[in-house]
Structure formats: structure tokens, C-alpha cells
């Protein structure tokens, strides 16, 4: 590849919708495996997926378990950004998994405008 590709994947569904919670991790996993830089952004109930202990409870039929996907994405260099007001309103800012970075809107905008493409789930 001539230039490093970068994909931003926004996640807005949480454990209550296992399929739509899992699909962005599937896409992110395929991307990091393909040498694409990945930034996952968690907003709304999507924040719950990076709360410690939650990913292990999420599994959708015919999809790989979410916790294993998350670990692989992190291992292959994927970044996890989490919406600041979303975690505060849920009282989980001190319960996030290692590597999850709390940030605000301008950071998401900066990531998206510098990316090759963005996906929103």
C-alpha cells in the first residue's frame, strides 16, 4: 500500500443488541488483520462494551465472541476511544478496560477527518 489506510468505526449499540454490538468488532478485526489502522469510537450505550467484564457477556449467534475480538483488535494495535459524557452519565469512567481512552467530540472529529473511511454502527 502506498499510504497507510485508517478506518474509524463508531459503535453506538451496547450489550442489549449483541449483533449490532459485535459487527463493528468483526469489521475492526478484519481491518487490523489487513494492516489497516483502526480507531474504534464508543458512544451512547456502545460505551458499555469497553466497561470491564461486559465484553465477556456479549455473544451473537454465528459471530465470534466479542471478548476474543476485542483482545485481538487491541493486540494488533487498534485504538479504543470512549465518549466522555457517555461514560460519566453511566458512572463507568473508572471501570473501563485497559487501553480505552476517554475523549470528547473534537478528538472524534480529528480521527474521522484524518481517516481513509469511517463506519457508524
Amino acid at each position: 500500500m502506498a499510504d497507510q489506510e485508517k478506518l474509524v468505526i463508531m459503535v453506538t449499540h451496547g450489550p442489549d443488541d449483541p449483533e449490532l454490538a459485535t459487527i463493528p468488532f468483526v469489521m475492526a478485526g478484519a481491518a487490523v488483520a489487513s494492516d489497516v489502522d483502526v480507531v474504534m469510537g464508543f458512544q451512547g450505550d456502545g460505551c458499555r462494551l469497553v466497561q470491564r467484564g461486559v465484553a465477556e457477556t456479549v455473544s451473537a449467534p454465528e459471530f465470534a465472541p466479542l471478548a476474543g475480538l476485542l483482545d485481538s483488535i487491541r493486540e494488533l494495535g487498534g485504538q479504543f476511544l470512549v465518549c466522555s459524557p457517555c461514560v460519566k452519565s453511566r458512572g463507568i469512567e473508572d471501570e473501563l478496560i485497559d487501553g480505552a481512552e476517554v475523549c470528547a467530540a473534537a478528538r472524534f472529529v480529528a480521527e474521522i477527518t484524518s481517516a481513509t473511511n469511517s463506519l457508524v454502527y
Binding site: G29, A33, S34, A64, S72
Partner: protein
């Protein structure tokens, strides 16, 4: 059928998309350029995923076929 030489074997049988290519990507890091990885998978999505992954990453899909209930791919690491 001619047998393709392999330097490393990855058993990804039972894993669901995209874990076969995630494991493939990790396994390729252990190989030198020009060496060949054999991937065994049961996820039918691998039939399109492995070629797409090879095209994106510049690795070479040498061949693939089906054996007793699973898929076999041979991928050569790019230079």
C-alpha cells in the same frame, strides 16, 4: 493433487469470521518473506476472506481446496 510445501500450519477450524484471518495475520508475522503458511478453516466466509485479505496485504494465495469438511489455503508471505 500436487502437494504444496508449507513452512507453518495454522489450524483455524471452528473459528468464525474474522478470526481465521486475524490468526492468519498473526501467524504470518512468524514467517520470513517467501515462506508459505497453510491455513485450515471451517468458516465458509474464508473462501472470500482469505483472497481479499491477500489482495489487501500483498500476500500471495497459492491455492485452496476443500478436504474432509474443511478448507485449506496456502499463502506465501510477500517480500
Amino acid at each position: 493433487m500436487a502437494t504444496t510445501h508449507e513452512d507453518l500450519v495454522l489450524d483455524a477450524r471452528g473459528l468464525l469470521c474474522p478470526m481465521p484471518i486475524v490468526k492468519t495475520a498473526k501467524a504470518m508475522k512468524e514467517l520470513e518473506p517467501g515462506q508459505v503458511l497453510k491455513v485450515m478453516a471451517t468458516d465458509r466466509g474464508s473462501i472470500t476472506d482469505v483472497p481479499a485479505w491477500c489482495e489487501t496485504t500483498g500476500n500471495e494465495l497459492l491455492d485452496w481446496h476443500e478436504e474432509d469438511g474443511f478448507l485449506v489455503f496456502h499463502v506465501r508471505k510477500h517480500d
